[in-house]
């Protein structure tokens, strides 16, 4: 009778089994991800390189070949197209036209956007010390809102001739690049923001300023070498 009245006790799983299950599942998940990552990495790299070339050509259609360099604290060094950049080095892409004249210098910039890391590519005209183009390479900004940093033609118009002049010593920008509220742009080094995508637009200004402060002085310093393009691994841009 007493047995019949006793409520059935649910058996508790030993803690050791719980830990073992979670550890094994985590190990299995890790193995799966590493396997897929290793398999897809070369294809993703190839896709990224093709997308980069397409972006460069879209900004400067007269570009016929690209030189690959990297900027390190020690200076400018050439690299091969598929060669990884060294630690603390920033990749640099230099475009040349049919007459082997420099069409622009492209540098990468990255920082935190609204959702996640934003990776940008910006084009520099080193002679005039202007930023002449900006494209988004990687972004997880909200479709329809944050992604307007790439799709909004009015925002993109900021980057046709954005002032990036260096100071007299050539060590940093004369004026910091920054984003202002939409319609409040007064100076050529200001970026007119986007209503409804304030954080993403401000992030672009901040990221560009940081990257330009580091890149521009070195690009201008090594301009003659970049213009000859002799040391970079160049490739015909039959994209």
């Amino acid at each position: 009778m007493a047995e019949a009245m006793a409520s059935p006790q649910t058996e508790k799983t030993p803690a050791r089994k719980l830990i073992r299950t979670l550890t094994l599942t985590a190990a299995l998940s890790g193995l799966l991800i590493v396997l897929v990552y290793q398999l897809t990495l070369p294809i993703i790299r190839r896709n990224q390189a093709a997308a980069l070339k397409k972006t460069i050509l879209r900004m400067r259609p007269d570009t016929q070949r690209i030189g690959y360099f990297q900027l390190t604290p020690a200076g400018l060094t050439a690299r091969r197209e598929r060669q990884e950049t060294q630690k603390q080095a920033r990749p640099l892409y230099v475009g040349y036209n049919e007459k082997d004249e420099l069409t622009g210098v492209w540098a990468e910039a990255s920082g935190i956007g609204y959702q996640d890391r934003l990776k940008l590519l910006f084009a520099i005209d080193p002679r005039r010390q202007l930023i002449i183009g900006m494209a988004v390479l990687e972004s997880k900004e909200t479709p329809g809102l944050g992604d307007r940093i790439e799709k909004d033609p009015q925002f993109q118009a900021n980057f046709t001739a954005l002032d990036a002049r260096l100071n007299r010593q050539g060590t940093e920008l004369e004026h910091e690049i920054h984003t202002v509220k939409k319609g409040r742009k007064q100076h050529p080094w200001e970026i007119d923001g986007i209503t409804g995508a304030t954080i993403s637009a401000k992030a672009v200004g901040r990221i560009l300023n940081q990257a330009a402060q580091l890149t521009l002085p070195l690009v201008v310093k090594h301009l003659e070498r970049l213009e000859t393009g002799e040391t970079g691994d160049t490739e015909n841009s039959e994209f």
């Binding site: 799983t13 979670l22 599942t25 993703i44 896709n47 479709p143």
Partner: protein, 226 residues
């Protein structure tokens, strides 16, 4: 627990139409509204979700007797998150442009309630083939719904289908359908059409209490939520 080893076509059809996760259960609304502005984006999202759904259902079903109930949700999420990462890498390898167009929504598949719901309510209680059939049905149902949304929004909102112009230069696109608000209009219209032609709405009996009395064949497995 049902261990029937066969691939049950009825389960597939149930997920695809009778208990469509979007049109009947109203699940997965976030990606449905956010990335259905073009057919390509919609298809990519639908296929990525289906991939995660089927793969996680298969693995969870295989491991179901080895996962203690106390840690089942944590384990399911770990498995789902792994397949989401794989789907993201595969999408980047297939089309970087589409991956970028989908923004954060590929990563957010991990919190899609269709997937965790299927794992908890079906895959953890059924055999491999039945779980895969059910997951395939739900995945196909979600892909079908998001494809309809993408088609409707792109054709009317841009005058094109998969990037190909349909109506010529004189067509004035209804841009509202491409904008976020237009997603709600499109969803409302599709729900209206679905409810018009689905077996539930054609029944003379209405209301959740009356629905319980409907014959099983109208609802596939005969389970009706109240």
């Amino acid at each position: 627990m049902n261990d029937q080893p066969d691939f049950d076509m009825n389960l597939f059809l149930k997920g695809l139409w009778r208990e469509n996760p979007v049109f009947v259960q109203l699940l997965g609304m976030c990606p449905l509204l956010a990335v259905s502005n073009t057919v390509i984006n919609a298809l990519a999202m639908g296929l990525a979700t289906s991939f995660v759904l089927v793969m996680s259902a298969a693995l969870i079903s295989l491991l179901r007797n080895r996962i203690p109930k106390e840690v089942r949700i944590a384990t399911f999420i770990l498995i789902i998150a792994s397949f989401v990462t794989c789907a993201e890498l595969l999408l980047q390898a297939i089309s970087l442009e589409t991956h970028r167009a989908l923004g954060p929504f590929v990563s957010l598949i991990v919190v899609n309630c269709i997937i965790l719901g299927q794992a908890e309510s079906f895959a953890s209680k059924n055999g491999l083939l039945r779980s895969v059939a059910d997951a395939l049905g739900r995945g196909a149902g979600f892909t079908f719904a998001i494809f309809c949304m993408g088609g409707l929004r792109e054709v009317i909102g841009s005058g094109s289908f998969m990037g190909q112009a349909l109506f010529g230069a004189q067509y004035q696109p209804w841009v509202i359908l491409i904008l976020p608000g237009g997603g709600f209009f499109a969803l409302g219209l599709l729900l209206l059409i679905y409810n018009r032609i689905s077996p539930v709405s054609r029944s003379p009996q209405r209301g959740c209490h009356l629905l319980q009395e409907l014959p099983d064949k109208k609802f596939g497995a005969g389970k009706v939520k109240t």
